[in-house]
Amino acid sequence: MLKRNKPDCADLIAKAKLGDSDAFADIIKQYYGLVMHYLLGMGVKHSDAEDVAQEAFITLFRKIDQVTNPSTFTAWLLRISRNLFIDKLRKEKKIDVSGSQFELELLSSNLSPESEVVSNSEVSDIFAGLKSRERVILELRVFQNMSFAEIGEVQGMTEGNVRLVFHRLISKLRDRLANEFGKV
């Protein structure tokens, strides 16, 4: 069956603004994986990532009326998630943010194993073995049609680096597809 039960984002936001609880739940279901992989890709431990994600959705929903452009919704949600995580680290004094040059890359010293190895629950599929950060970049570009500059901004990477990772990924997946089918 070809049915893919993925409601339109703009539609969900409109319904959520009217207080539709199903719309809120659908937004959570639709974006949970992205937010979680985004946080895991930054080196957040799974349990912490769930806490941050939960807080991010709550923050987002409380400000849902401010969403005027659904196309910027994803970037906004990820920015909220990142800021909440940084706040959490600040509170726990795990990072020094006193310097002027705070880069997300610095967080990698606290990398959790989850950021390298994707959940065991995921069965073999075309994305098998991809790191969380790679999944997020692929999703933002292919499924959300975000520009490399926008992706760089939310990922704390340069536009050039995002391009580099993206093309490497496409090349990897293209080879995988070709191998699966034994030719092309």
Partner: protein, 159 residues
């Protein structure tokens, strides 16, 4: 083929703006880019790369409670994603068929088929387009050996 040109085409294919004429011409003679088209069609027809992680009902309910909604809606939290992850042999076979057809320089059908499919984020419409292409490409597909899809249906990803 010029690697730089192939990368440029890949970027166009994943951009909401249309493919340029030069890009379309390039795809018709470049096997690598034809495979990229196939890959993108396959990806668009299936789950997103992050769809494997699904929220528990407890998670959904906690968020809803956080904004003052007491709800039992979350009892089937994983359902929609599980449905979303179903992939069919037909879709992938057609996607590959399209790319192979392009790679062989066969007729592509409507001129803007790529753009209609690739820029479309609404999967239902994307599938309609894929099916339309299936009809358009039937002749071309007759001579193409159908691939055997090895990817599991990830419905069991959701515990």
């Amino acid at each position: 083929m010029d690697e730089k040109e192939c990368k440029n085409v890949t970027e166009q294919l994943t951009d909401p703006k249309n493919l340029t004429e030069a890009g379309k011409k390039h795809i018709k003679v470049c096997k690598k880019c034809a495979t990229t088209v196939s890959l993108l069609l396959t990806l668009k027809a299936g789950p997103t790369p992050t769809a494997g992680l699904v929220p528990s009902p407890t998670f959904v309910n906690s968020v809803l409670a956080g904004i003052g909604i007491k709800s039992a809606v979350a009892s089937s939290a994983a359902t929609s994603t599980a449905t979303a992850t179903s992939k069919t042999v037909v879709t992938v076979a057609v996607a590959l068929g399209l790319a192979t057809a392009v790679g062989l320089g066969l007729t592509l059908g409507t001129d803007d088929s790529f753009n209609n499919i690739l820029k479309n984020q609404k999967s239902e419409s994307a599938k309609r387009n894929i099916i339309e292409i299936e009809l358009l490409e039937l002749e071309a597909l007759k001579n193409i050996k159908s691939p055997v899809l090895k990817f599991d249906s990830p419905a069991n990803e959701t515990k």
